[in-house]
Symmetry: C2
Subunit: 349 residues, 2 copies
C-alpha cells in the first residue's frame, strides 16, 4: 500500500489588504497521518467539505480580536465536515461523520476526540447542512436574531447580506417570528431567491442606482431590527432609518474587511436620538446553548420553515484559496463550501 | 403699579451649523402675564435659573429625533428653576420653588400645574441642584450609568466630558460602584478637579499632544464602560480600547453637533470582534423612575458621595444665547446655568 499524500494549506503572508491565491497561502504535500499515529482518545479524519466564511478574513490580520490570528506558517483555520477513518475514542468509529473547527485546511488530520462533533441530521437534511443551517452559520443566525435582534410580530427587520449563509437563515427566523422582513443582496438572482423562495416581504439589490430611495420606501415604519453583515454604506443607511429602540445585530462588516480605508457611519449620532442598541456578538459566546439552537433549527428545517442553498466550489482543497476570493466577491448564494471529497465517492472507497 | 415687562427668547433661524447670538435667536419684550391671566390648575412663575444643556443644539435642527425640533418663532425650549408668583392649583402656592421643562426661555410665564415639579431639596443642597445633580443632569447620569453602563467592581470606566454636568455625576456613580474611573476633559483645571476633588483614578486632557498614548496607558486592562458625551475621535479611541463585552453609554456627541461634516468611528468593526454593546438613551425614557433616581442622588449628595460644581452665567435671560456658545466651547465646569433672578434678591421683593 502506497503512502497517502496529504495536501495542506498554510498562511504564507498576511494579506495587505487583498488575499492573493498562491501568495497569501502556500500549499504543502506531506505523507498523510495514519491510524498508527493515533494516541488515546483521538480520531483520524478525512475532510469532505470545508466551510468558507467571511470571518476568515479577520483571522488573517495580526490584530486584537475575539480569537488570536492565524500565525504565519500555520495550517489555515476553518470548519469542516469530515469522516472518521480511524478512532481510539469510544465515542467515534470508522465512517462516522463529524464537524471540526480549527487549523483544518488539510485533507487528512488527527484530532483529539473532544474537537470532533458528531453529525446528527434530521430526515430531510444533507450532510453539508451540518456546516450550514445546522452548523455555525445557522447557530449564528439563531442566537444573533433571537438574543440581540429580538424581532416582534409586525416589526420591520432588515437583513443585509440576506442571500448569504447566515443572512438567509436570520431573515427566515425573523419571518417565523412574524416580522416584516426586507432583505438586501447584490445580484438580481439573489434578490429573486429572497422573495420567491424564502418568502421575504421585500428584497433590494444594493447595486440598483435607486437603492437608497427604494430602501426608504421599503421601510415606511422605519427599521426595528437591522442585521448587519456588511457595515459601511448599508449600515449608515439603516441608521438613518432606525426606529426608536431599534436593535442593530452586528454580525459582521464584509464591506470593510478588505478595505485599506475603513469608514464609520457618519450618522452614528442617531444611536443616541433613536436610542439604538448596536451590539456585536460572536457565535462562540453561545457555545453552552448550541444544542438548543441545533435542535430548533433542525425542527424548522424538517418542518419546511427554513429553505437553504449551497454554493459548492469543486476542485478539492487546492481550490479553497480561490473559493475565498469568490466569497468576498459575493459569488455565493447561501452557504459556500469547498468539496474536498464527495461523500458518495467516499462511500465507494 | 406699572405693567411688568417680560423678555422672551425665540428661535429666529436654524443654525448652519453655528449658533450666532442676535441672529439664531430674537429677543422680544411684551407685557408679562399676571395672576389674572390664570385659568384653573395653572401657575404663574418667574424663572430664577435656566439650564444650559448640550442637547439643546439638537433641538434646533429640523430633523427626526426624540423630540420635535423647536419651531421657528417659538420660545426656546429648556429647563428652569422657577418660583411660583400665583397659583390656581391646590398643589402650589406663592413662593414655592418648581422646576419646569418646555418653551420656557422667558422671564415670567403661565404653566399648567402638571408641568411644574415641586423642588424638594435635602439639607445640604442648593436650589440650583434641582437642575443639576438632582435634576435632568443627575438623572441622565444615574439611569445611563446604571442601566446601560452597569459598572462592576474593578472594571475600567472611561467618561468623556467628565467635567461636565452629566459626566461628572456619571463618573462619581461609577466610583460609588467600585470601578476604576478615567475621566477626560479639555482643560487642565478641569482635569485637576476630576482627580483632586471627584476622586477619579486618572484624568486626561484631550488637548494634550500625548493624549492618545496616555489614554492607552490609562487603560491597561482595556475599557469596560465608555460614557460617551463627545463622539468623534474620543469614541474611536475608546472603541480601539474596548474590552470584550464592553458597554458604550451613548449619551451625546458634542463634538459632532456643530460640525458641518460628521465623522463615524472607522473602527466600528470592533463592536463585532469585542462584542460591544453601544446603546443610546434619553433620560425621558426613564420618566417613570425619576422619583427613585432623585431619591438615590439626594442620598448620595447628603452623604457627601457626590461633589458638584456650577458655572453660572450672569446678566439675566438676555445673556442665555451667549451662555450656549460658552457651553459648546467647554467653558463650564459642572452644570451650566443662566441666572435670571438671584433667589436672595427675589426674596427681598
Amino acid at each position: 500500500m502506497s503512502t497517502r499524500q496529504n495536501l495542506s494549506i498554510h498562511l504564507a503572508e498576511r494579506p495587505n489588504p487583498y488575499i492573493v491565491p498562491g501568495q497569501t497561502f502556500s500549499q504543502r504535500t506531506t505523507p498523510a497521518p495514519t491510524a498508527s499515529d493515533l494516541k488515546p482518545d483521538q480520531v483520524l479524519v478525512e475532510n469532505l467539505y470545508l466551510s468558507l466564511d467571511p470571518a476568515m478574513r479577520g483571522w488573517l490580520n495580526d490584530r486584537r480580536s475575539y480569537v488570536p490570528p492565524v500565525q504565519i506558517g500555520e495550517v489555515m483555520r476553518g470548519g469542516s465536515v469530515a469522516r472518521v477513518l480511524a478512532s481510539t475514542s469510544p465515542q467515534f468509529k470508522e465512517g462516522d461523520l463529524v464537524t471540526t473547527f480549527g487549523n483544518v485546511w488539510t485533507e487528512v488530520l488527527v484530532l483529539p476526540a473532544a474537537q470532533a462533533t458528531p453529525v446528527r441530521l434530521p430526515a430531510n437534511a444533507r450532510v453539508t447542512d451540518a456546516m450550514g443551517v445546522l452548523g455555525m452559520t445557522g447557530l449564528t443566525a439563531y442566537f444573533g436574531m433571537l438574543e440581540i435582534g429580538q424581532p416582534k410580530k409586525g416589526e420591520t427587520v432588515v437583513v443585509s447580506g440576506a442571500a448569504g449563509a447566515t443572512g438567509s437563515v436570520a431573515a427566515q427566523i425573523a419571518k417565523i417570528y412574524g416580522a416584516r422582513v426586507v432583505g438586501i443582496a447584490g445580484k438580481d438572482d439573489k434578490v429573486k431567491w429572497l422573495t420567491e423562495e424564502l418568502g421575504l416581504d421585500v428584497a433590494l439589490n444594493y447595486n440598483d442606482p435607486d437603492f437608497k430611495e427604494k430602501f426608504k420606501q421599503a421601510t415606511p415604519d422605519y427599521v426595528d431590527v437591522f442585521w448587519d453583515n456588511v457595515g459601511g454604506e448599508q449600515l449608515e443607511l439603516a441608521l438613518g432609518r432606525a426606529n426608536k429602540f431599534a436593535r442593530f445585530v452586528e454580525c459582521g462588516m464584509i464591506s470593510q474587511y478588505n478595505s485599506a480605508e475603513a469608514v464609520g457611519p457618519r450618522n452614528i449620532m442617531n444611536v443616541v436620538s433613536q436610542r439604538v442598541r448596536l451590539q456585536g456578538f460572536i457565535v462562540f459566546d453561545f457555545i453552552e446553548r448550541y444544542d438548543e439552537g441545533r435542535k430548533q433549527l433542525a425542527q424548522w428545517l424538517s418542518e419546511g420553515k427554513l429553505q437553504r442553498k449551497e454554493t459548492i466550489i469543486k476542485g478539492g482543497l487546492k481550490a479553497a484559496e480561490e473559493g475565498l476570493l469568490q466569497l468576498f466577491k459575493g459569488q455565493n448564494t447561501g452557504k459556500m463550501l469547498v468539496e474536498i471529497k464527495n461523500l458518495e465517492e467516499g462511500a465507494k472507497l
